[in-house]
Structure formats: structure tokens, C-alpha cells
């Protein structure tokens, strides 16, 4: 990659959200902002190759995008005066005090608004805040480009028609709205970390990296929010294990069998630092902070036996108090197996059958416990069910090997 191309990629990462956010603020229209930002970056690719990168690329892009937006509005207002009227109604509103005022934060809250469908929130956030192209987003969620384009167009139309505001939520609504934003970022991360579909890579590093980048942004914009720090720590501590996660033969490698020497030390250090920082505040932790703490215990251990399982179990007990979902109970059972034995864990897992019977991880966990209890025939049935439900190619390969190794 040439220096100019590298600079463009870097500036795109750093400035895209800022340019879209500033334009949305000025023109009150996501469509105009998105299109003008895309045009400005396309112009940059041409001009910077010829003239070199300007001294302040961010300012250059914002100015260029502003011109593009004004040109478009001039063209459109000739056709449609009502549109012009709509553009004028987005005056800056008074903001609650004590919340950091950044246009990018407004943009994120708008894209993750609870009145939008979850898949629209994901797609809009990746497009408007992440700057991913439509084909990239379509590929990320394994849908046709045209379908993804329609989804984003519909979401933008709803924002406009329903009056979804471009402003920070009230202080009273903020915690819940931040939770919504973090949930979107966690979904992006998880899709990257355990990608579904027969034709995708088992781990989509583009998505995990994007989720981490956007979570870093949220963390920087809301430095006092414990859950933003917690989610960032959680992602870092999971991402750190990525090099050990898929074997050379394309099989998922379980935590017990991973080569811990290949874990990324810098990410672990940063993740542990964040977890300690949150512990030091003494503020009761939320879901992501507890999950991060659990992953901190795992990433502190030299091997599976060295893991402080009683600490992991204590953290799961704490997690159940804030998030008593069946999936948390399922993950807790894995720690129970290490502390109290697989028979106790299996009894706990079996109680989850009615709600989790369609979830592949339920059968994966059962299969493993049954195998450890020497119940090969039952384990085989459970592996079969897990294989039928698993969507990740590397996980399927791992489960097939495990099943075929049964006595």
C-alpha cells in the first residue's frame, strides 16, 4: 500500500464518523450527510494521489463534504421546497449538562435508537459511524447487497418520518440508551468472533476489529460509563485469544486446548488494566464488567487447571443477579462442572432444556458433560444435536471430531 493510500485508510477510520456527524448536525439529514461524506472521501482519493495529503485531512474532508452537501441541497430545493423546510427544522436543541457534547455520540444514539429494528441499528451503525460500505455490511450479515441497501434506506426514512431526534438522550434516559448502543456493538463483535454461515471465515476479524474500534470511541466519549469500559475490556480479552482459537486444520480450539502462549499479551494487559480500573471505583459492576472480570480470570491462568474456578463461579453468581437469563445459567454450569463436578453441572444444564433446546451451545455443553461422565451414547446424541444447530464452520468441525472420538 502506498503512503497516500495508507493515509486515506487511516483518515477514513479516524474521520468518517466525525464528518458524517458534523454534516448530520448541520443539515439534519442522514442521507445527505452520508452521501456527501462518501463523495468527499472519493474526491480525496483522487486529489491526494495527485497533490499529496493535505496538512489537516479532517478539516479538508469536512469542508469538501460541506460543499458537496450544499450542492445537493441546492439541486433538490429547486425541485422540492418542502424538503428545504424539513432541513430547517433540525435546530440544535438544548443539551443536558454533564454529558459530553460530541456530534459522533449524537450519531451513535440516533443509529441505535430503540424505535429501529435491531438489524437496522446494526447496519446503520456500521454504515454511518463505522464507515463500512454497503457491500461490506451486506457481506457481514450474509444478505444480498440490495436487501442491505433497502434496510438502511428504510431505517433512514423512518428516522426522518418518525422524528427520531439527533441529540443526546436526557440524563434520565442515558443509562438505558447507552445499554442499547453497547448491545449493538456486542452483537457486531459476536458475529465476528463466531461467524455464522457455510461460506464465511470462522472468525471475522474485520467485524471484531470494527466493534472494538467503535467501543473504544464510546469509551472515549463516555469515560465515566462503567459498562462501556467493561464491554471494551471484555472484547479485548476475547480478541486476545483469537490467534489460538482456530487450529491449522480449521477447527475451533476449546479454551482448555488453546496454546496460551499465542494469546496477544498487549490486549490482555489492556483488558486487565480496564477491569482493575473498574474494580477500584467500587461502583457495583454491570453485566459487561462482570463478563470482563470472568475473562480476566481466564486470561490470568497459565492453563485450564491453574484457572481459579471458584472465582469464576462467584462471578457467575454475581452475573445471575443482574442478568438471570438461561444463557448465563448455561455458562455458569461450565464453572460448576469444574468446582462441583460434571454431574452437578449436568443437573443444572438439564433444567434449562425447555428454553434452550434450540440453542447449539446448550447441546455442546451437555455433550461435553455427558462425555466426561462416561455416558458415550447420550453424549453422541447431544453432539449430533449440537452439530445440527451450529452455524460456524470451525465449531462444526470441532464437534464432529469430538463426537467421532467417543468410545
Amino acid at each position: 500500500m502506498s503512503d497516500v493510500e495508507e493515509a486515506i485508510t487511516r483518515v477514513h477510520h479516524e474521520e468518517w464518523a466525525r464528518v458524517v456527524a458534523a454534516l448530520t448536525r448541520r443539515f439534519g439529514d442522514l442521507d445527505i450527510a452520508e452521501e456527501a461524506a462518501a463523495e468527499a472521501f472519493a474526491t480525496a482519493v483522487e486529489r491526494w494521489r495527485a497533490d499529496g495529503v493535505p496538512p489537516n485531512p479532517g478539516a479538508w474532508l469536512t469542508t469538501t463534504a460541506n460543499h458537496k452537501a450544499v450542492d445537493r441541497i441546492r439541486r433538490e430545493t429547486k425541485r422540492d421546497d418542502k424538503h428545504k423546510e424539513a432541513l430547517m427544522t433540525h435546530d440544535a436543541q438544548s443539551e443536558p449538562l454533564g454529558v459530553i457534547d460530541d456530534d459522533r455520540l449524537r450519531l451513535i444514539f440516533t443509529c441505535c435508537h430503540p424505535a429501529l429494528a435491531v438489524e437496522s441499528r446494526l447496519a446503520l451503525t456500521l454504515r454511518m459511524v463505522g464507515g463500512l460500505t454497503m457491500p461490506e455490511i451486506a457481506r457481514a450479515f450474509l444478505v444480498a447487497e440490495s436487501a442491505m441497501g433497502q434496510r438502511i434506506t428504510r431505517a433512514k426514512a423512518k428516522i426522518k418520518a418518525a422524528g427520531i431526534p439527533y441529540r443526546l438522550p436526557s440524563a434520565e434516559d442515558l443509562p438505558e440508551r447507552v445499554t442499547g448502543v453497547l448491545a449493538v456493538l456486542y452483537l457486531v463483535f459476536n458475529e465476528g468472533y463466531l461467524a455464522t454461515g457455510p461460506d464465511t471465515d470462522p472468525v471475522r476479524q474485520d467485524l471484531t476489529a470494527e466493534a472494538i474500534r467503535l467501543t473504544r470511541l464510546i469509551r472515549a466519549l463516555l469515560p465515566d460509563n462503567g459498562e462501556a469500559a467493561g464491554l471494551l475490556a471484555l472484547m479485548l480479552l476475547i480478541e486476545a485469544r483469537r490467534p489460538a482459537r482456530v487450529s491449522s486444520t480449521g477447527e475451533l480450539v476449546s479454551l482448555a486446548e488453546q496454546d496460551r502462549g499465542s494469546w496477544t499479551t498487549e490486549l490482555i494487559t489492556e483488558g486487565h488494566h480496564l477491569v482493575r480500573e473498574r474494580l477500584a471505583t467500587g461502583v457495583p459492576p454491570g453485566r459487561y464488567q462482570i463478563l470482563a472480570a470472568i475473562n480476566a480470570v481466564h486470561t490470568s491462568a497459565r492453563d485450564m487447571r491453574d484457572t481459579d474456578w471458584s472465582q469464576v463461579l462467584a462471578l457467575y453468581n454475581q452475573l445471575i443477579r443482574v442478568d438471570p437469563s438461561p444463557i448465563v445459567h448455561l455458562n455458569r454450569a461450565i464453572a460448576v462442572a469444574e468446582v462441583d463436578g460434571p454431574d452437578v453441572a449436568l443437573a443444572a444444564v438439564d433444567r434449562l432444556e425447555p428454553t434452550l433446546t434450540g440453542y447449539h451451545a446448550y447441546h455442546v455443553t451437555r455433550a461435553d458433560l455427558l462425555r466426561r461422565l462416561g455416558r458415550s451414547r447420550d453424549a453422541r446424541t447431544a453432539y449430533d444435536q449440537a452439530i445440527a444447530l451450529a452455524g460456524n464452520t470451525a465449531e462444526t468441525a470441532y464437534l464432529i471430531r469430538r463426537r467421532d472420538q467417543l468410545a
Binding site: 436543541q93 424505535a115 418518525a162 422524528g163 431526534p165
Partner: protein, 107 residues
């Protein structure tokens, strides 16, 4: 912006019938704070009549245009600065009427 706020009831699992004092109190607030444009409760869907005069003959038929378990029980029209304000009011409205609420913008 102007929003049509629909109160949705369920024939099989109707909301409680003692809500009028709460709704009146909520309406007073809507008026005092400048959101209120219009409000009205609707008679049962059995009382509805459908008229279709798109063809040569006028067709008048008994009953609602669509039979469903869930139905429109009443409407408000609110004037709000944006959807967040409307959703916040709708949260209170749902409690006041003990029913689901749909918020839909006018064009």
C-alpha cells in the same frame, strides 16, 4: 411533529376497565404541557360500518374493515418536538390506559 397515538386492546386479554380516572389525569397533563391536540375513545368494533363507493354501486357492510384479535380502542393526536418526547409520553399513556400504544407520525 404531529403523532397519531393509538390505544390497542386485545379481545382475548383486555386491559382493565377502571382506567378512566388515570386517563383523565393524564389528559389534563397533556393539555397543561401543550402536547394535546385531540383524544377520543372508540366504541366496540362491532359498531363499525365500512363504506366502499369506488365502484359504480355503493357497498355498505357491517363490521370493521379487518377482523383481528387486537383492535384500535382509542386515539390521541399529540404535538411533540420529536419521537423521544412522544415515546416518553406513550410510556405513561400505556400505564394510564393499561393497554399497548402505537405511536405513528403524520406525514
Amino acid at each position: 411533529m404531529r403523532y397519531l397515538v393509538s390505544v390497542i386492546d386485545d379481545k382475548e386479554n383486555p386491559g382493565s376497565t377502571d382506567r378512566q380516572p388515570f386517563i383523565s389525569e393524564f389528559n389534563d397533563r397533556l393539555i397543561a404541557e401543550g402536547y394535546w391536540v385531540f383524544a377520543g375513545g372508540l366504541a366496540d368494533t362491532d359498531a363499525a360500518t365500512v363504506v366502499d363507493s369506488r365502484g359504480e354501486q355503493v357497498v355498505i357492510s357491517d363490521g370493521p374493515f379487518v377482523e383481528s384479535k387486537e383492535y384500535l380502542a382509542g386515539v390521541w393526536v399529540w404535538e411533540c418536538p420529536d419521537l423521544d418526547v412522544a415515546l416518553k409520553l406513550a410510556t405513561e399513556a400505556s400505564k394510564a390506559c393499561d393497554r399497548k400504544i402505537e405511536v405513528r407520525p403524520f406525514q
